[in-house]
Symmetry: C2
DNA sequence: AATTCTGATCGAAGCGCTTCGATCACATTA
DNA sequence: TAATGTGATCGAAGCGCTTCGATCAGAATT
């Protein structure tokens, strides 16, 4: 069994509380005793037990992360940012995956907030209103990633979804497209809504009337997006370009284009959102709106650290910029060429 | 503050120990008291505090996972399997990423094993000999994923690396290739070694002499593999096909082929290993050896659960089969066509 | 020299739970 | 009826740590 603080105290000839103070810097301890404690720690190869520490009211060094799914690149990239930043802050990562089941969210948040964790990171929560208020009330540190507008007290980090969607749509318009489809994301997320609005705004600015026929929900998922695209492609006056709410959806749309025997990207252009690694790896490579995924994770962690160290710090919201990444999946429409 | 077991006990009119026994099933409690306890739990919305539970010597419901990196698809897929299986077993996941720094491994293992966790999953450890013996000695449950042969007491789950490499190489040979390059993995991993041996075995069986010139280390990474491939391509008698130790390396090789102005896959065939999602998404889609990544994660969790519930269970090693997935990245060599 | 103050160090309580041994009521046996 | 046995329930210790208030020696003050 590993040594305890008691053994360190005995070896150093001091009390447990002195050891604790040395280790935590919670109280001035004379250089001599400090040194004796440090020596004892070294000799015994002692490490603080995070569990006991946490129970006794100290820091546990663990941050809870709730994420809808691990394997999707989108989450994976954000998680990477979280993980890297957490590591450099000396924190561990307790992961909860909801597997996209929103009923699990309140349970997980409760467990995480009343357990080992010092703070919480919530990625793309689907029903935050249901459980965030109590957290906020008791001043428990948390940051929400990629969802906003559901309340006015939760710190968030998001992307310029509206702008990104606007840019993507505008790019398509500049290429000459007039019939532009949109495979939208799950409508309970703010990002899906904002992207839809950005799309509409770009259309409007170009004087292209909005056609509700051209918008179908793809829920950020490949198969539903495939089906949505099939529907769009089968329209009497089908789109010559399709903008999708994320890259995964874009791949579903491309599947649909192929399955209708059309040529991609010559017959139908596709533009995605996110710039997940697969977007660059695909051939033709996917033109898309880059979100700073890794940076979102990093930023969220940094914000969380600030809330942990300064509980009274006022709520803060960060918006990270998006960038249009032009690759090979968009061409001018055929008739205009 | 959330209710404690004491409050539950008071409300139910029983002792704390009775509540504990009801909740853990550690001792028979009369139906009447059981019911009273359950009611109190429900009324107070009580949940056991995992931290206190763990300190007091009970189950914490947390499994530690050490992983070299989160964002790589390979790890991500295995992590997904782990995560899913853990969730269905009611466990949480404490994640430690080494960021490929092997010095962190012993520290993490120590922290994880002496903290909250009931068991450990080690993905692709690079230096397991340095710290696994003590764990084994104290009978702490753990399972190693994708590394074997470093000792004779650690439970492992691995793939048929030799077989997979053999199949891949043989497929290339059947296509008519004679000059087959190999971009190897990091040589401190058993999988890299086994794949190399499978490659050599297939060559030998076909009567093709092994040429050390044709083997370069790519460390499972894209850029080093790119450089390794450049080297191979610049050989006086360059390979017409390249087998890589993993898919990520394959993409590096493809980059190199393009950068030398060659046509892929017509001039040089490429075959990978892993079958990460990007392999199927790429165009031309990557022919590769599929590992049951998700299943590896799941299997490891199941094994771990058995060790946790039955500490005396004998060491077990599981090998999962690989499968050649033929897509579009391999053609017969040009001169033979 | 006696008193007060200061600040480093210590002791002990307590965080929420598990678990061992004690207890106590009841049933069984002689 | 007294003695013994049985088994559900309880009490208390303890897991490893933090932290509050107490202590105690030395410095500063009169």
């Amino acid at each position: 069994m590993p040594p305890t603080i008691k053994q360190v105290a005995e070896r150093a000839g001091v009390s447990m509380s002195t050891v604790s103070h040395v280790l935590n810097g919670t109280h001035f301890v004379s250089p001599e005793l400090t040194q004796r404690v440090l020596n004892a720690v070294q000799e015994l190869d002692y490490r603080l037990n995070p569990v006991a520490r946490s129970l006794a009211g100290g820091r546990s060094g663990v941050i809870g992360v709730m994420i809808p799914e691990v394997a999707v690149s989108y989450s994976g990239e954000i998680l990477r940012g979280i993980d890297e930043e957490l590591a450099s802050a000396g924190y561990d990562l307790l992961l909860h995956t909801t597997h996209n089941q929103r009923v699990k969210e309140p349970v997980f948040v409760h467990t995480l907030a009343h357990g080992l964790t010092e703070g919480l990171l919530l990625l793309l929560p689907s029903d935050p209103n249901a459980y965030l208020a109590p957290l906020h009330k008791k001043n428990f540190p948390y940051v929400v990633i990629d969802h906003q507008g559901f309340d006015d007290f939760s710190p968030t980090v998001v992307s310029t979804n509206w702008r990104g969607a606007f840019d993507a749509t505008q790019y398509l318009i500049e290429l000459g497209h007039q019939r532009i489809g949109f495979v939208a994301g799950a409508s309970h997320t703010s990002s899906a809504l904002e992207r839809l609005q950005g799309y509409r705004a770009a259309l409007q600015q170009a004087g292209i009337p909005f056609d509700a026929e051209l918008v179908r929900e793809g829920y950020f998922l490949r198969t539903p997006s495939y089906e949505a695209a099939l529907h769009l492609l089968d329209l009497p006056d089908p789109p010559t370009a399709i903008f999708t709410a994320n890259d995964v959806s874009a791949f579903g749309v491309i599947d649909a284009i192929h399955s209708r025997g059309l040529h991609f990207p010559d017959d139908v252009s596709v533009i995605g959102f996110d710039d997940i690694p697969e977007a660059a790896a695909a051939r033709p490579a996917l033109t898309t709106v880059r979100q700073q995924l890794v940076e979102m994770g990093r930023t969220a962690v940094r914000m969380l650290m600030e809330y942990i160290t300064q509980p009274e710090r006022p709520m803060q919201r960060v918006t990270l910029g998006t960038e249009l990444i032009i690759r090979e999946s968009c061409k001018p429409p055929k008739n205009s060429a």
